[in-house]
């Protein structure tokens, strides 16, 4: 315990802790939406497409996060647009974007002369190198998502639930979808720092799925999901520190364990009820 407290004296450890909590909050809110709308696969496409932006940004000497955000937002809006126009079947569009993004990223990082950045930290995340600037970005995004959700909870929920009916009732469905698409993309990119491209999707899907075991209302799923995600992430961080293993993988393991425990306790509760 003492060495854990000593560890928290380091600023990089404090940053990691704050980043884990903020990422849990935004990934849970966005994740609850993604899971409810059944667009987990789209989010996977956006995540991997953003790697293309990172590669290009590296090659031209911009901050990689800027390139990633641009690529992610464009692909989110692009998928929404192409599926609306129906030129291409949606799952095919996603798969193309997914692999094309990765290919562009790999190519440009390969072409970057001299020092080549550590591919592993993109793919698997590195929460211990989170910078103060990235924390500020996370805080800003958390505030924006929180206020947006509070103000527009119902339109967000209804357009996700039944877009056609929402169109008939004159909700600005397309605009809401584009804005949310952009928010999803930015949230994914900021979470990549913590979890990496390959692992980040679990942060968006495990907590809401676990919450959905017990609660069925969208806002309750968000609240439970945030709690589960914070507990799981912090537990993952501690385990990673104790056992000296990669943080991203460790966080996923502890989230998955949380899910399994909750699932078992749900089954236990149900069988207890049926006995009475």
């Amino acid at each position: 315990m003492n060495e854990l407290l000593d560890f928290l004296n380091y600023s990089f450890a404090q940053n990691a802790l704050i980043a884990a909590i903020l990422t849990s909050v935004i990934a849970s809110i966005v994740g609850a939406y993604i899971v409810a709308r059944r667009s987990v696969f789209i989010s996977g496409g956006i995540t991997h497409a953003s790697f293309g932006g990172m590669g290009i940004a590296y090659y031209y000497g911009f901050p990689p996060i800027v390139g990633a955000v641009i690529f992610a937002v464009l692909s989110a809006v692009g998928i929404e647009w192409s599926s609306k126009k129906a030129y291409l079947r949606e799952d095919s569009a996603i798969a193309i974007l997914w692999s094309l993004g990765m290919a562009i990223g790999i190519l440009f990082i390969f072409l970057t002369p001299g020092y080549s950045p550590n591919l592993m930290s993109f793919l698997f995340g590195d929460i211990l190198t989170v910078t103060l600037t990235e924390i500020y970005f996370l805080i800003a995004l958390t505030v924006i998502i929180g206020i947006g959700l509070y103000l527009f909870y119902e339109p967000i929920l209804y357009t996700a639930f039944d877009p056609e009916f929402s169109k008939i009732t004159k909700l600005p469905v397309q605009k809401i979808k584009y804005v949310i698409g952009a928010i999803i993309a930015i949230t994914i990119v900021l979470s990549i720092k913590v979890m990496g491209i390959i692992l980040v999707l679990s942060l968006f899907t495990i907590p809401p799925s676990a919450a959905n075991l017990f609660v069925k209302k969208f806002n309750q799923i968000i609240n439970w999901s945030i709690a589960i995600s914070i507990v799981g992430s912090l537990l993952g961080l501690i385990i990673a520190f104790k056992l000296d293993i990669p943080t991203g993988a460790s966080i996923i393991f502890s989230l998955a364990i949380c899910y399994i425990i909750l699932h078992i306790s749900k089954l236990a509760l149900r069988s207890k009820k049926s006995l009475i």
């Binding site: 639930f161 056609e164 009916f165 929402s166 209302k217």
Partner: protein, 243 residues
């Protein structure tokens, strides 16, 4: 307010295939129009035109400035696993008359409560829709359609996937509602529809509006509505002539 809606010489197409040709239809207060026709005949397209989900390729749609449409889609189009409660679904019907950024008012919530009572689902108010039966879901969607107090109610195949017990209740309900609003009901079930509606419109590429609710063999054949397709193999005209 008499003429709520008027379709004049409307044609509609998907890609390049024309689905509806030179259609005329007018809907007035207290109308109860049954729309029948074979699959692929353009029933859904007609609804989408009226609901402004698609634009006609030619022709003109005239709407009364006070026209307010309530819409009940097919139950199968709803994602029942979506985390949303009965009350939330019904409240989502208010935006036809409310600004989209405004939160639900007390008046909205009272109206919602009345509607839930009206269809006998009070104990389900805060339940997720995943726990409803097909008939209950249908009633919730009906409440949502009625939330903004429409003067035109449009129902898309309300008698599919619904238990027979509720079907009779639904028809009684619609009969009551018709005192205060016009109703358009799309159905493939010619038998039930003809006793319920006041007039019948037959859609099959073109549209013929018969100002009566009896479907004669002559109507069906002369206007090119093959009864085998509409009736799914039963012979409805023999039954219907009795009405």
């Amino acid at each position: 307010m008499n003429n709520l809606l008027e379709l004049k010489n409307i044609s509609a197409a998907y890609e390049k295939q024309t689905v509806l040709r030179n259609i005329n239809l007018s809907v007035s207060t207290n109308d109860f129009i049954g729309i029948i026709g074979p699959n692929g005949g353009g029933k859904t397209t007609l609804l989408k035109l009226i609901l402004e989900l698609i634009n006609p390729t030619s022709g003109e749609i005239k709407k009364h400035p006070k026209l307010n449409i309530g819409y009940l889609p097919q139950v199968l189009d709803i994602d029942k696993k979506f985390p949303i409660t009965v009350e939330e679904v019904i409240l989502s019907g208010r935006f036809t008359t409310n600004s989209w950024w405004k939160k639900a008012t007390k008046t909205n919530k009272t109206k919602c409560k009345e509607l839930i009572e009206f269809v006998g689902l009070t104990e389900k108010t805060n339940q997720p829709i995943g726990e409803l039966s097909g008939g209950q879901m249908q009633r919730v969607l009906l409440c949502r359609a009625l939330m903004s107090q429409p003067n035109l109610l449009i129902l898309d195949e309300p008698n599919t996937y619904v238990d027979k017990a509720f079907e009779q209740d639904l028809y009684k309900l619609l009969h009551e509602l018709n005192q205060n609003m016009a109703i358009i009901l799309v159905s493939h079930d010619v038998g039930t529809i003809s006793s319920l509606v006041k007039t019948i419109a037959c859609v099959n590429g073109s549209l013929h509006h018969h100002k009566a609710n009896t479907i004669t063999n002559e109507i069906l054949e002369s206007y090119n509505c093959p009864i085998e397709i509409i009736s799914h193999g039963i012979i409805p005209h023999r039954v219907l002539k009795n009405h």
